[in-house]
């Protein structure tokens, strides 16, 4: 345990330094013409992620240091009135819930630390592959920003049944459900981005669509859990497991997969095997819904999470068949992820070679570098940026890279 705490502290330090690097780079080292509103949404998402990390991880660090003291130095920050196996501990006056507060002050932003980059990448990929600009760039930015701010304010919605003061609880309900508004904006904007597009279903696109689907499903169940009244019943049941696995686990993984499939040619100059990509997507997509959808029902039936054996119970013993099905499907889905890892490693060395610098026809800067970029990314001058990154299908042209100056007769958006 102590080693785990120390390793967590090291992790905090590393993520902190990484986050600082992202923030300062994005603010300070943009190329000429790259104003903040010309940044691709991926970069914006990374920026907000870094902000979340830099401001919330230190709180976890403090919590962990206090925990380490409690474990080794006999302090009583979190411990009070404890009798373990007949042994009476001397600690008095601490509060076990304090650790939960400190933990969730990180823990909640952490959810968005995982999810925001996925959102950014999905925005980019949907736009590129539907050959349309992302709908409502400023609204997307605004909702990212709103989510970032709200992420800091809602930590105690994980703690409605810890004896939390009901008044504080009601404020946390209000703030928590507010998050649904920017999330809804994002979903509707993604849908409108697809609308009247000309969509190419690369594996990355499929994963991005899967992300949106899962984000809707998991996000809506968040409205149940963020509402303290319902949370009394659903807290710590399988419903929670279903909710956060869909929205934070599977959905953000989908975002990352989408990102990997999309930028793999840039990373290694080769493609991932796309047939494997399609299989990977469909198995994972169908599997995830098969695993997690029925879990909601288990949660509604009150089955607590983390029960390895339910046979001793009268109330919770109704779903043995379902549990079996879920187990089998999860094994298959997990095996499929191994397949992806294999595909990844195999394609680095043996994948189909990329022949053009810009295989997806994307506007952003990274696709103007050579297929195998050297140190500093661009040989010679760093390119100057003249426009936002989403000029797709504008004025009859399929795509207009950011480096192209705005033409005289070009229509304004």
């Amino acid at each position: 345990m102590d080693l785990w705490i120390v390793s967590m502290a090291l992790f905090v330090v590393s993520s902190l330094l990484g986050g600082l690097n992202y923030i300062s780079t994005i603010l300070n080292l943009r190329t000429k013409g790259m104003s903040m509103t010309r940044l691709p949404l991926t970069i914006w998402a990374m920026f907000f992620t870094a902000v979340l990390g830099v401001l919330s991880f230190p709180v976890l660090l403090s919590g962990l240091i206090l925990l380490l003291f409690d474990r080794n130095l006999g302090t009583s920050f979190y411990l009070s009135d404890i009798v373990v196996n007949g042994e009476i501990l001397p600690n008095e006056g601490g509060s076990a819930i304090l650790f939960q507060h400190l933990f969730w002050f990180l823990g909640h932003p952490e959810v968005y630390i995982i999810l925001l980059p996925a959102m950014g990448m999905v925005s980019e990929i949907l736009s590129v592959n539907s050959r349309k600009p992302i709908f409502g760039y400023m609204a997307m930015l605004g909702s990212l920003f709103a989510i970032t701010i709200l992420a800091f304010l809602v930590w105690a919605h994980h703690m409605f049944v810890t004896g939390l003061n009901p008044f504080l609880g009601s404020i946390f309900v209000l703030l928590t459900l507010l998050i649904a508004v920017p999330s809804a904006i994002k979903v509707f904007n993604w849908l409108t981005t697809l609308w009247r597009g000309n969509i190419r279903f690369t594996p990355a696109t499929l994963f991005a669509i899967g992300f949106v689907s899962l984000f809707i499903s998991g996000g809506l169940t968040g409205i149940f859990l963020g509402n303290s009244t319902i949370d009394i019943h659903l807290h710590d049941t399988m419903f929670v497991v279903a909710h956060f696995h869909i929205v934070m686990g599977v959905a953000s993984f989908f975002g990352m997969f989408a990102g990997v499939y999309h930028w793999f040619p840039k990373m290694f100059g080769r493609y991932l095997n796309s047939t494997l990509g399609y299989i990977h997507f469909w198995v994972t997509m169908i599997g995830s819904y098969l695993i997690f959808w029925p879990m909601h029902y288990q949660g509604l039936a009150g089955i607590p999470r983390r029960y390895l054996d339910k046979r001793g119970w009268v109330s919770f013993n109704d779903f043995p068949e379902l549990d079996k099905m879920i187990t089998i499907v999860s094994i298959i889905v997990f095996a499929m992820q191994l397949m992806f890892v294999f595909n990844f490693i195999y394609s680095i060395f043996k994948g189909r070679k990329v022949t053009s610098t810009n295989p997806w026809g994307a506007n952003t800067l990274e696709w103007t570098t050579p297929i195998r970029p050297g140190h500093g990314n661009w040989p010679g001058e760093i390119p100057e940026v003249h426009r936002w990154p989403y000029d797709y299908s504008k004025d009859g042209r399929e795509f207009i890279p950011q480096t192209e100056p705005i033409g005289e007769n070009e229509s304004k958006h």
Binding site: N28, L29, T31, V51, L55, S95, I97, H101, F105, F152, L153, A156, G163, L164, N165, F167, L168, H375, G376, I382
Partner: protein, 153 residues
Amino acid sequence: MEHPAFEEVSFHHHTDDAEFKRRVKKTTILLSVITIIELAIGLFIYTLHKSDVNRDFLILGFKGLVCILTLAKAYYIVSVFMHLGDEIRNMIMTIVVPLMLFIWFIFAFIYEGNSYKNLRNTYDLHFKETTMPKKHGNAETHEVKPAEKSGKE
């Protein structure tokens, strides 16, 4: 690798020497004076504690005053010593605005702490009896604070 933005930075500490020294001196004196006032208030609270008369409200007021003075001190250190006051407005905002999170953070935590106290006092009478300071006049027994936050930090 050289930073492309690096040469662009124009350093803005070209204020003349005497002016700068005067400012530093002024701030140092200000900080010292505030600290001395704070100490005086601290000692005054001590004497209030010692006396038998119940002056919880006055003590709380003084504690609030100390908090405000501390914030003033912090302001001077950050804005003069750390030169944040000389930076561009946007820069100041990126530092100050995230710190606003502390308002809710402090309120929620302290409110929670107070709520633990109430729970313990209501349902754990032994805790209440053994830790509640006795009513009759002992020194430093009026430490129990009302529910509102005291603006710490």
